[in-house]
């Protein structure tokens, strides 16, 4: 925070430059202008690891004989370069979330989760952590790409917490990971970004990409199993709102449901901003589904829940939704009574983040104090965990030498890939070979009374796997 004339943060020391020097620089530049074509060109896309190539600061090993001493047991082999943070500077990490536009409700809690985590975590080896300007993925591929360019242009950046939206990650993750940085997403769930759990990398998987959010395939399977086995309903329908996330989840549900033996009577799309759901619901009603899964968001989800019982043919249909609808405003409505909700296990209870020692209640209290409201979406905890994972990884892969902090990029990745049984507020995290770090535990809760939503949130009737 900076006010008129009040400077709270140490300023970087600056060298004054004589005019002569500048002129000299201009001339030298003119002389060299042909040669500097490639100085900041990115590493070739094929080679994800470009050793000793672009990273400017020299690794200390070759120059100094007693290298192992200062380095200690910091992780990494230096293959992705080493970042040096000088005294008085901060360790650069970034937040990349959808913080404007219609999905800001999803991205803002993510960003704030990172901010809280940094505040709680404190310094790393005496160096502060600098989040810079929070970046916006605009929930779009273009936005993700442009923001990623901003990130990779700063070679000091170690890692990114984000993106909010899978579409943005598709464009951002190749850029970020090829620059040797890591990317940990708190809320991407598309299988394409990691794997299908059968050893096949997704179409958009990149080494260096991790996430603390679950994989859609798990949630789809969880809901399908629950509906088919637990509720004993053999015909179900799904509804999505044209968002890649909701469409993907509806599709995953449908696939898993057919696999376990159920019949999908229809998948219908609505549009964001629709209010009158009767036509879409009527279309679904003609298949007489026993259950309707609509993994969408408010306010469209509110309308679905309110209007479904009025549609002839859906009167007795069991309504089910996903984490997107698990918001207090919706649970307080009478329409939502009796519904089931699937989602990542949000019974954070006494889980303690091992990086900061905070539990969910403490974090939420800090959240409300700082931002004046409670989180508007469920992934703040995943974001908090993602940030502490990153900070822990930096701590593990860095060492102080001559007052400067050195961070080994490869070490950061090594740490993350080896994460196992990490205690986070969202549960126990373990990263698999394709960057899926979440506990992958999906729960289904039963919402019995709009009068007591806290009870409903803990009323877990099914857990998967």
């Amino acid at each position: 925070m900076n006010r008129f004339g009040i400077l709270t943060k140490a300023r970087q020391k600056r060298r004054g430059i004589p005019l002569l020097l500048a002129l000299l620089a201009v001339f030298s530049l003119l002389a060299m202008s042909c040669g500097n074509d490639d100085d900041d060109a990115p590493a070739a896309p094929e080679a994800t690891a470009a050793p000793e190539a672009t990273q400017a600061p020299a690794a200390p090993e070759p120059t100094e004989a007693p290298a192992p001493d200062p380095r200690g047991d910091a992780l990494g082999d230096g293959s992705l370069g080493i970042v040096t943070v000088s005294t008085g500077e901060g360790i650069q990490i970034r937040s990349l979330n959808a913080i404007s536009g219609p999905v800001a409700f999803l991205g803002l809690p993510n960003q704030r989760g990172v901010e809280l985590a940094i505040a709680d975590y404190g310094d790393i080896h005496g160096f502060s952590v600098d989040l810079g300007t929070p970046l916006d993925d605009l929930c779009s591929a273009e936005g993700g790409q442009a923001a990623a360019q901003t990130i990779v242009a700063d070679e000091q950046v170690i890692g990114v917490v984000g993106t909010s939206c899978s579409g943005a990650a598709v464009a951002a993750s190749p850029l970020v990971t090829q620059a040797g940085m890591v990317m940990i997403s708190p809320s991407n769930t598309s299988p394409a970004l990691t794997s299908d759990f059968e050893g096949n990398p997704g179409e958009s998987y990149n080494v260096g990409y991790y996430r603390t959010a679950h994989n859609d395939l798990v949630q789809g399977a969880a809901m399908a199993n629950f509906v088919f086995s637990e509720l004993g309903i053999s015909a179900a329908a799904a509804l999505h709102d044209g968002d890649p996330y909701t469409q993907g989840l509806a599709q995953a549900f449908s696939n898993a449901y057919e696999e376990v033996g159920g019949t999908t009577t229809g998948i219908v799309g609505i549009n964001k901003g629709d209010t009158d759901m009767v036509p879409a619901l009527t279309e679904l009603a003609t298949g007489s589904p026993g259950a309707l899964f609509f993994p969408i968001f408010p306010p469209e989800g509110d309308h679905v829940a309110a209007q479904a019982p009025t549609v002839s043919g859906l009167e007795g249909t069991q309504l089910l939704a996903a984490d997107g609808m698990l918001v207090d405003g919706f649970l307080e409505l009478a329409d939502s009574e009796g519904m089931y909700f699937s989602g990542p296990d949000l019974r954070f209870g006494s889980n303690v983040n091992q990086g900061t020692g905070r539990n969910a209640d403490q974090i939420l209290a800090a959240y409300e104090a700082a931002y004046g409201e409670l989180p508007s979406a469920a992934f703040w905890g995943h974001s908090y965990d993602a940030a502490t994972l990153l900070l822990d990884a930096i701590a593990a892969a860095s060492w102080v030498e001559d007052g400067d902090l050195h961070i080994d990029r490869a070490g950061v990745r090594q740490y993350l890939s080896e994460v196992s049984g990490y205690s986070g507020v969202t549960g126990s995290l373990s990263c698999d070979d394709f960057g899926d770090c979440a506990s992958q535990k999906i729960t289904v809760i039963h919402h019995e009374s709009a009068a007591d939503i806290e009870a409903s949130k803990n009323n877990v009737v099914y857990a998967y796997p």
């Binding site: 044209g242 009767v278 036509p279 408010p298 549609v311």
Partner: protein, 368 residues
């Protein structure tokens, strides 16, 4: 009367083909739908879409009612478009935002009332209060908008106020966004007797209320325009502002009144929206606004009855069209295309009848 032989250009041929194709598609869809209803195994129905779904009578009726309720809302907003268009001759794109502001005002005041406990105790009174407040806010918004953004532009080329109104629209939408945040603003719970599903003819109470309110507003507006002095002045200004001013009519006043009345209508529509759908977002005004304008055009702009009829047409078309026309033709997931259906209605109506269904005249080209 002898028809003049029109020489057809290639464009005319193309348009004719388009018209015919659109009508044939609609016709084929309808026939396929009927065939489906009569006997889902008849050869035509099977050929058109073997998996076509079969609507029950009740479902069909529900679709019509939902469409009518939605359409009545479009109609109410369309009245504002139509009036301003009639008097000033330009589309006030931002009218949809005025409607949204009405709905937001309603959401805030009603939830405050609910917090104070008044909403449940004395629902009707609270509702009246909310309606009045929303009308006031909308009227003020509309009048300020006219004063700040449109009045200085009178007499400029006609694209200029149109573009300005697009700017106003986005400004207002984001004005609400930055002040009130991106979250949904919800209305408190309605009393049972209103939301009950089978009040009359097994139609939801709120939908009936919307239809009734639309009818009342329509009659009120008709009275205002046709029977009062203000209405006469409005019609005079619509006919020719310059001459009206020579006849001693204060054109500015009339225009302000037009905006005010349009705003008030949008305020009513906003509250009805809240009652029907329980929640509102800052983006809630844009698409309904565009559709309402389409409704005004479909009905014949400048014609109040036409606006309401156009609204109902668009509402019913987007409700029924996907399942009655597209689905029997083999389009999968047709409900997703409802906005496309709404715009197609606009395009087809303009192709077949450029002045709209009830439009008698096109406002003169020369007016700027």
């Amino acid at each position: 009367m002898q028809l003049t032989a029109k020489q057809r250009t290639r464009v005319d041929w193309f348009l004719t083909i388009l018209r015919v194709a659109a009508l044939v598609l609609i016709g084929a869809g309808l026939v396929a739908f009927v065939a489906q209803v009569v006997d889902s195994n008849n050869p035509f129905a099977r050929w058109a879409n073997p998996d076509a779904i079969n609507l029950t009578g009740r479902q069909f009726r529900d679709l019509v009612v939902a469409g009518l309720a939605q359409g009545a809302m479009y109609g109410l907003i369309a009245l504002g478009y139509s009036m301003v268009y009639g008097v000033l001759g330009f589309i006030n794109f931002a009218h949809g935002e005025v409607f949204m502001i009405g709905a937001v005002t309603g959401a805030i005041t009603s939830s405050k009332l609910a917090e104070a406990g008044a909403w449940e105790d004395n629902f009707v009174l609270c509702l009246l209060l909310v309606v009045v407040l929303s009308m006031v806010v909308c009227t003020i918004t509309a009048v300020i908008m006219e004063r700040v953004a449109y009045r200085p532009l009178r007499g400029k080329p006609r694209l200029i106020p149109l573009i300005t109104s697009i700017g106003v629209s986005f400004f207002l939408q984001n004005f609400i966004l930055v002040l009130l945040g991106p979250g949904t603003k919800t209305y408190p719970r309605m009393p049972e007797w209103l939301t009950e599903k089978r009040t009359f003819l097994e139609i939801q109470g709120t939908r009936l209320l919307v239809l009734a309110a639309a009818a009342v507003a329509m009659v009120g507006l008709w009275y205002l325009v046709e029977r009062t002095k203000t209405g006469k002045a409005m019609r005079a200004v619509a006919e020719d502002a310059e001459i009206a001013s020579l006849m001693g009519i204060d054109v500015n006043r009339v225009i302000v009144k037009t905006f005010a009345v349009g705003g008030a209508m949008a305020g009513v529509a906003g509250i009805l929206w809240g009652l029907l759908f329980n929640s509102v977002l800052h983006t809630a005004g844009f698409l309904p606004g565009i559709k309402a304008f389409s409704a005004a055009v479909v009905g014949g702009i400048g014609n109040l009855g036409g606006s309401m009829a156009g609204g109902l047409t668009i509402g019913v078309a987007e409700s029924l069209g996907p399942l009655v026309i597209l689905e029997p033709l083999g389009v999968s997931g047709p409900s997703q295309l409802r906005d496309a259906v709404a715009f197609s209605v606009l395009i087809i109506v303009l192709l077949v009848r450029p002045s709209g269904i009830f439009g008698e005249r096109l406002p003169s080209e020369e007016r700027t």
